[in-house]
């Protein structure tokens, strides 16, 4: 490690700092970075083959696509792997809380740091959609509960979010959206449900 770091290669000529100033919601302009190689190496998830008929569902699906496109853009722009938005030591401690876990590779908490960031962003994004449906500007616990109830991939969180709150939030959300209330909170009525069950 140290010998490599002590032998610096010749410094490259740097131009002006690259700026990404697109406003939220607007289409991202084509920047100096071409996304084709990333797409070739790691193809982005395909669009759902059966898009929901409701326009609201289509808008939600479109927002999700923009969300993941933004994730790719941010990863392409990442050049510093030592500054993380989440402390690695704490991630490692949570991993080690499982006594079966013996050794953790040094890269693992770094990958988790990025994954948790995406997880927080996705959960917040879906929760905010619920807050907007209820004409609120404050993200509340019930919004997170609704996001968990609506998304099958978040089923492992049902014990973290109170069921009563999730049920009430889901009922209110379904009522507001004009969708018939599904039995026992099944995600069948979730417009994004088909997206997650599609093989990729």
């Amino acid at each position: 490690m140290e010998p490599k770091s002590t032998t610096p290669p010749p410094p490259p000529v740097m131009g002006a700092p690259i700026a990404y100033p697109p406003p939220p919601g607007a289409a991202y302009p084509a920047g100096p970075y071409v996304h084709a190689p990333a797409a070739a190496l790691y193809p982005p998830p395909p669009l759902p083959p059966a898009p929901p008929s409701s326009q609201q569902g289509a808008a939600a699906a479109h927002q999700q696509q923009l969300f993941w496109a933004e994730q790719y853009r941010e990863i392409e722009a990442t050049t510093d792997f030592k500054n993380h938005n989440l402390p690695l030591a704490r991630i490692k401690k949570i991993m080690k809380a499982d006594e079966d876990v013996r050794m953790i590779a040094a890269e693992a908490p770094v990958v988790f740091s990025r994954a948790c960031e995406m997880f927080i962003l996705e959960l917040t994004h879906r929760g905010w959609a619920h807050a907007e449906e209820n004409k609120r500007r404050t993200l509340q616990k019930s919004d997170i509960a609704a996001a968990v109830a609506r998304t099958e991939v978040f089923d492992f969180l049902v014990d973290i979010v109170p069921r009563d709150e999730a049920k009430d939030a889901d009922s209110a959300a379904m009522g507001a959206a004009g969708i018939p209330h599904p039995a026992a909170g099944l995600p069948a009525a979730d417009p994004m449900g088909y997206y997650y069950v599609q093989p990729q």
Binding site: P11, L86, I94, D100, E107, A115, F119, I144, F156
Partner: protein, 262 residues
């Protein structure tokens, strides 16, 4: 899909329900600076409870990246997200560790974690994380520093007895990285062909780092958060130039501080 998840979901039920509230209360009461002081003087129990969750400041900062400027986040929403993140880490780690046991391995690798996410339904995360991993490995200098830093600190924290165990494992871990270099040599070339900026040296890396801070700052304030975390949680925002100097000269100390605070 629900079947494999249900057994894991039942496991968290064994956790005492009182602990989360106490931990959250502890996290919320002091301000960031106060939190540092409180953490230093906190008892082992408080430290353990705090360590169970991600810091609320970091979580809030990430949440704001995806919310409009006028949006507000209630405290209970922040708390429930903190809980969800810890559960996410435990959930994925458990699945990754099972794969390690199946394959008779002792070390949970980043590939195991990405594999576990795919298996648990987080398919959207696999491709971005794969790209992230490749970018991290292409950046060999930072990768080298990253591997050395945490491993060394982990060894020192556990004591001299764990060093002999950890060093061989580290060597073993480095071997696949060396083997992967021929494969990676193609991707970096393609990356170089696409982007005019070659692989950054430490100094140029810091310049790009500064540039990134400026550019990303315009889009999302996460870089400011990174700077804050790097500075040890201080709320004073220093100029970008100072941030660069600070990061270049104090790369090891921030991790030391993080270890100390934990």
């Amino acid at each position: 899909m629900n079947n494999p998840q249900n057994p894991k979901a039942s496991a968290p039920c064994t956790l005492p329900p009182e602990l989360p509230k106490e931990a959250v209360a502890t996290d919320e009461a002091p301000p960031p600076m106060g939190n540092n002081n409180n953490t230093e003087s906190a008892t082992a129990t408080m430290v353990r409870e705090q360590d169970r969750l991600m810091p609320v400041a970091n979580v809030s900062r990430i949440m704001r990246q995806v919310l409009p400027p006028y949006a507000k986040i209630s405290d209970d929403a922040k708390e429930v997200i903190q809980e969800c993140v810890s559960e996410f880490i435990s959930f994925v780690t458990g699945e990754a560790n099972e794969r390690c046991h199946t394959e008779r391995r002792k070390t949970v690798t980043s590939e195991d974690i990405v594999w576990a996410m795919s298996r648990l339904g987080f398919d959207d995360y696999v491709a971005p994380l794969g790209a992230f991993l490749q970018r991290m490995r292409d950046d060999s200098d930072h990768g080298g520093e990253e591997r050395g830093g945490p491993a060394g600190r982990g060894g020192s924290r556990r004591g001299s007895s764990s060093l002999p165990l950890h060093c061989p494992q580290q060597m073993h871990h480095l071997h696949p990285a060396v083997c992967r270099r021929p494969h990676q040599s193609v991707s970096p070339a393609a990356g170089y062909a696409v982007r005019p900026v070659p692989r950054p040296m430490p100094a140029s890396g810091y310049r790009m780092q500064g540039g990134d801070h400026r550019s990303v700052g315009g889009v999302a304030p996460c870089s400011y958060g990174g700077a804050l975390v790097q500075a040890g949680g201080t709320q004073h925002v220093v100029g970008f130039h100072d941030d660069e100097a600070s990061s270049s000269s104090e790369n090891p100390p921030p991790e030391g501080r993080a270890a100390g605070s934990n």
